[in-house]
């Protein structure tokens, strides 16, 4: 039992159950089927984006341009839908993936090949991409009645009771889990973040991996940009403003180490779930809006404190963390 509780993911899961219990005591409606469905749909985008943000953080990087990428891709596909309302959803998705990938690859080239620190590059591209949103849209909105009906309907189309957006997130969770635990490239990311020098000595190519990571982030950001715009049925210049910090927060709460090399898919998903539950519960349990921001911030800080305490005892030996991860993988 004690060993079970020592694992971070289990602690977090226990905290989530406790929080949900407390919220439900105060507002029983929170645990209704409709409410759970809404929360899952709401959390899908954050979960996907937190997962790819984790890839950057694992390699000691960060991507601050994710929300600007989402906004630009979302605006571009919305404008396309305005001009061609009959455009197939698959075409929209392919376009969103492609544009997102391109924007992510630009980050990748600057970071991996030019060698500028990720935080600097993505801080720059964050402004560039956000500025381009103004440029392509001229500051005007794309509204519900201007987008194609299939374009808007797709994210909330239901398959076996769950919305399409939840299915996409589920597939992505599985894919990234497999990638990080059973694909060599995925394992290399942990090694790179754990100890870049040692990783180079054993022949792991940092350049390729960074290029891969930021391109992947771009790919998923593009997809999420479309999903966001379609879900809220409106595209405007401030789409997802500040959302990049939520993705980082979800990672931190989920136990992903900001120093790199440590973090699990399960932890990251739980971190996102926790944040989404807090976001959805605060409006229901009558917390003053003036306190809401402060509470969100306090929760994140508490998670960081927990995190740094657990890190201090362990050290950051790459072989040890790789060994630990291997044990986790087989357990």
């Amino acid at each position: 039992m004690r060993r079970l509780l020592q694992r971070r993911e289990n602690q977090l899961a226990a905290i989530i159950i406790l929080v949900v219990g407390l919220i439900t005591l105060r507002a029983p409606v929170f645990l209704s089927m409709g409410s759970i469905d809404t929360i899952m749909t709401d959390g899908a985008i954050l979960t996907m984006m937190a997962l790819v943000q984790m890839l950057a953080i694992l390699t000691r990087g960060i991507d601050l341009s994710v929300s600007a990428n989402m906004a630009l891709t979302g605006m571009v596909v919305a404008l396309l839908s305005k001009d061609h309302p009959e455009m197939a959803v698959t075409a929209t998705i392919v376009l969103a993936l492609g544009l997102g990938l391109l924007l992510g690859a630009i980050n990748g080239v600057m970071i991996a090949y030019v060698g500028i620190p990720p935080i600097v590059v993505t801080l720059g591209t964050m402004s560039i991409y956000r500025g381009l949103v103004f440029q392509v849209s001229g500051g005007a909105w794309v509204n519900a009645q201007q987008m194609g009906s299939a374009f808007i309907a797709f994210p909330t189309t239901r398959l076996l009771g769950l919305t399409a957006i939840v299915w996409i997130a589920a597939v992505m969770v599985a894919a990234i889990y497999l990638f990080l635990n059973h694909v060599r490239k995925g394992r290399e990311l942990y090694a790179l973040g754990g100890n870049p020098t040692a990783a180079r000595y054993v022949g792991i190519n940092n350049t390729h991996n960074q290029m891969l990571v930021y391109s992947l982030i771009g790919l998923v950001s593009g997809l999420c940009g479309y999903l966001w715009v379609a879900r809220y049925a409106v595209a405007y210049t401030e789409i997802a403003l500040g959302f990049e910090l939520q993705t980082v927060a979800a990672c931190v709460i989920g136990g992903v180490s900001m120093a790199g090399g440590r973090g699990t898919v399960l932890g990251c998903v739980l971190g996102s779930v926790f944040l989404v539950i807090i976001f959805n519960a605060l409006p229901i349990i009558n917390v003053s809006p003036f306190w809401q921001l402060a509470i969100s911030g306090a929760v994140i800080l508490a998670a960081v404190v927990l995190n740094s305490r657990s890190e201090r005892s362990k050290g950051k030996l790459i072989l040890k963390s790789a060994q630990l991860a291997a044990v986790r993988g087989t357990a």
Binding site: Q145, W228, P289
Partner: protein, 336 residues
């Protein structure tokens, strides 16, 4: 001003003067009124232009010059006003890109006997006779409660979904709404909650869903902000509450048309730029022809919009916000 600048503005002035000459050949003693907008190609101001033309037609002896810079800058407006002074127009009505930057040039215009009024976005008091606001807080607050009351048939629980908790405009309107709700006329409406979506669609959406959960008997959401009203309407549609919960508030027709047709929104309101352009041109005519003084405390007749009263700050409110519904939203959605 640099030499280069001077040349370009001279060139500009001569072009404007030439076009004005062609336009102005109709009659020498017509009242020439220039409408200077923030920028050309903006649907809102194109609609204001339509209103201005309506007033010009109604008044008969008015030549309306519609102009503005291609990008919304104060510099562009200064050049244009300079050339309008050179043409010796009778009146200028301006929606200013900067309240202070335009003061020296409009002062110059006034010293030459040109009537200067501002509308929509005002010029600082020193630079204009008076400013015409599209509406004012108490009218905006009252209109929103009236719309909710009409849709609900006078009874039911309502909630307000605003922008940020410290948004000045929204807070003033909410205060006015609460005042109106306290009157016996709206005793059937019960305000159960005020929440804040921070003008972000994801947060506004969550707050709207939170309202449905917290208040199962909720009948209407009033959102006095454009992001809030669209996000609430989408939440109503997604939660299958169309017909049970209605969204109303302030929004632009182009942004709201889809939600009006989905049934999530019955009515919403915003200032009507056509009426605003009409009022501005009409008032400018009255002042330029000395039929009204425009001094604080006086009124200026403005045709079909009745009259506007200048308050002690030199500002006037045109009317209550204009209401849109299924019958007229598509027509206006094309304009703004």
């Amino acid at each position: 001003m640099s030499k280069k600048y001077g040349f370009s503005s001279m060139l500009f002035a001569s072009v404007v003067a030439a076009t004005a000459l062609i336009a102005g050949t109709a009659s020498a003693d017509n009242v020439r009124i220039a409408m200077v907008v923030k920028n050309l190609g903006n649907g809102f101001f194109d609609a204001a232009h339509d209103g201005g033309q309506e007033a010009a037609k109604e008044l008969g002896n008015v030549d309306l010059i519609y102009t503005g810079p291609t990008t919304p800058t104060a510099e562009g407006q200064i050049d244009i006003i300079n050339s309008l002074i050179a043409q010796n127009v009778n009146a200028i009505v301006v929606s200013a890109n900067d309240p202070d930057a335009l003061v020296p040039i409009t002062k110059k215009a006034m010293s030459r006997g040109i009537t200067v009024l501002s509308f929509d976005a005002g010029i600082a008091p020193a630079g204009r006779l008076f400013q015409i606001n599209p509406s004012k807080a108490d009218l905006i607050g009252r209109k929103q409660i009236e719309m909710a009351s009409k849709t609900l048939g006078g009874t039911g629980e309502i909630a307000i979904l605003s922008a940020t908790a410290q948004a000045t405009n929204q807070n003033i309107w909410i205060k006015e709404m609460k005042k109106v709700l306290a009157t016996p006329e709206f005793s059937g409406l019960k305000l159960v909650d005020v929440v804040y979506g921070d003008d972000q669609s994801d947060k506004s959406y969550r707050e709207a869903v939170g309202l449905f959960r917290k208040h199962p008997d909720l009948k209407a959401i009033i959102a006095p902000t454009t992001v809030g009203i669209t996000a609430s309407a989408k939440a109503v549609t997604d939660q299958n509450l169309v017909g049970k919960v209605f969204v109303t508030g302030l929004g632009l027709p182009s942004e709201m048309a889809g939600h009006v047709h989905s049934g999530a929104v019955d009515t919403f309101a915003i200032w009507n730029p056509i009426d605003l352009g009409y009022t501005a041109v009409y008032a400018a005519y009255e002042i330029a022809t000395k039929k009204a003084t425009g001094k604080a405390g006086t009124t200026v007749p403005v045709g079909r919009m009745k009259e506007i009263t200048i308050d002690d700050k030199g500002e006037a409110a045109m009317s209550e916000p204009y209401v849109f519904d299924k019958s007229n939203v598509d027509k206006f959605a094309k304009m703004f």
